[in-house]
């Protein structure tokens, strides 16, 4: 096409029309030579006008095509946006599903780890109930020496108690009714309580700790001396105050 960098078609059309108007309006008396010139100019301007009209028409149809294409582009754009939204939603749903599945797997693992045969649980329940360790005996009244924890007597008659009884200690007389307080019982008479379970636990070993603590727990050696002698924790003395 003719120079697109020049003035826009509309301006050119208008300027040609102006020229035509000027030419056709000029009232001054035409000189003999000028008629021809004016006419030639008129014809030239008219030709230009026609050309410009054609150009304008072509430009118009191009413009129409452009508009159609723009509409297409808009449609495609909105399609893409729609797909984008759907993709985002799908991603969200999948992420949630994956997360929940992972949680479920975790809880399955946890449950599997903690699974114990029901028979064992029932056996254990029997054990701790039969000895009144978790439920008081039905005929319990204040004054009854039985307790949900090992009493002084039981503690002292265990392995820990015996470890402490090695050095002689004569100062443990202030516990009423305590058979061991008078001195060591011969091993044969030592009561052996089921809470020490040395028979049941034959194969059982504790986790290794390699003496990190730096201190033997009370119940061994030197600490247990105080443990045994000065323990005024006989529960029968306090049970009269309770409830």
């Amino acid at each position: 096409m003719a120079a697109a960098a020049e003035k826009p078609t509309k301006e050119r059309l208008l300027s040609v029309l102006d020229d035509l108007e000027v030419l056709s309006r000029s009232q001054k008396l035409p000189q003999p030579g000028e008629d021809v010139q004016v006419l030639e100019l008129l014809v030239q301007r008219d030709r230009e006008f026609q050309e410009l009209m054609e150009v304008a028409q072509q430009q118009g149809s191009v413009h129409q095509e452009m508009q159609l294409l723009e509409k297409e582009v808009e449609k495609r754009d909105s399609d893409i946006q729609q797909l984008q939204k759907q993709l985002k939603e799908a991603e969200h749903i999948l992420a949630t599903a994956v997360y929940q599945a992972k949680e479920k797997l975790k809880s399955i693992d946890k449950a599997r780890k903690g699974s114990i045969s029901s028979e064992e649980i029932i056996k254990y329940a029997h054990r701790i109930s039969a000895s009144n360790a978790v439920c008081a005996p039905l005929n319990w009244v204040p004054g009854d020496p039985r307790r949900p924890y090992p009493t002084d007597l039981e503690m002292r008659s265990g392995m820990l108690g015996h470890m402490a009884n090695m050095p002689t200690n004569g100062v443990n007389g202030h516990l009423p009714g305590d058979a061991l307080a008078a001195g060591r019982l011969p091993d044969v008479l030592t009561p052996h309580y089921p809470w020490q379970s040395s028979d049941v636990s034959v194969g059982m070993l504790p986790p290794h700790h390699g003496n990190d603590f730096g201190l033997e727990p009370p119940g061994h050696n030197k600490e247990n001396e105080d443990d045994v002698e000065a323990m005024s924790t006989d529960s029968s003395s306090s049970s009269s105050d309770s409830d």
Partner: protein, 131 residues
């Protein structure tokens, strides 16, 4: 390295010791002598948490000790145990809790007895469920 017999003895003594922790008076005793302030002892209490695993827990005759052990992990609890009143309170509450099920059972039995009085035709149900 300890021999197997030493390990077994250690198992036995740790089993006894942890169950002693169920006795609030013993806890008070330990607190008053300052054992609960010593870092090695505190570490030992943390180590004893292995008794919570089922393969060890099944040897515990006095399960209250596990709850006490958990509480003993907290410094506040260890500090409070120095007071004799605190130990007494724990003891009382423990006894009341201990009696809870038997009281519940007695109540159920009473309710059942009343029910039977009202409807003498119905055969009495076994009490096996009321545990």
């Amino acid at each position: 390295m300890e021999t197997e017999e030493q390990a077994r003895n250690r198992f036995q003594s740790e089993l006894e010791f942890i169950q002693c922790l169920a006795n609030p008076n013993y806890l008070n005793f330990l607190a008053q002598r300052g054992f609960l302030r010593e870092r090695p002892f505190i570490n030992y209490l943390k180590y004893l948490l292995y008794w919570k695993e089922p393969e060890y827990a099944k040897f515990l005759k006095y399960p209250h000790c596990l709850h006490m052990l958990e509480l003993l992990q907290y410094e506040h609890f260890r500090k409070e145990l120095v007071n004799a009143q605190c130990a007494k309170f724990i003891d009382e509450q423990q006894l009341l809790h201990w009696q809870h099920y038997s009281r519940k059972r007695t109540r159920l039995q009473q309710a059942l007895a009343e029910q039977q009085q009202q409807q003498p035709q119905q055969p009495p149900h076994g009490n096996a469920a009321a545990k």
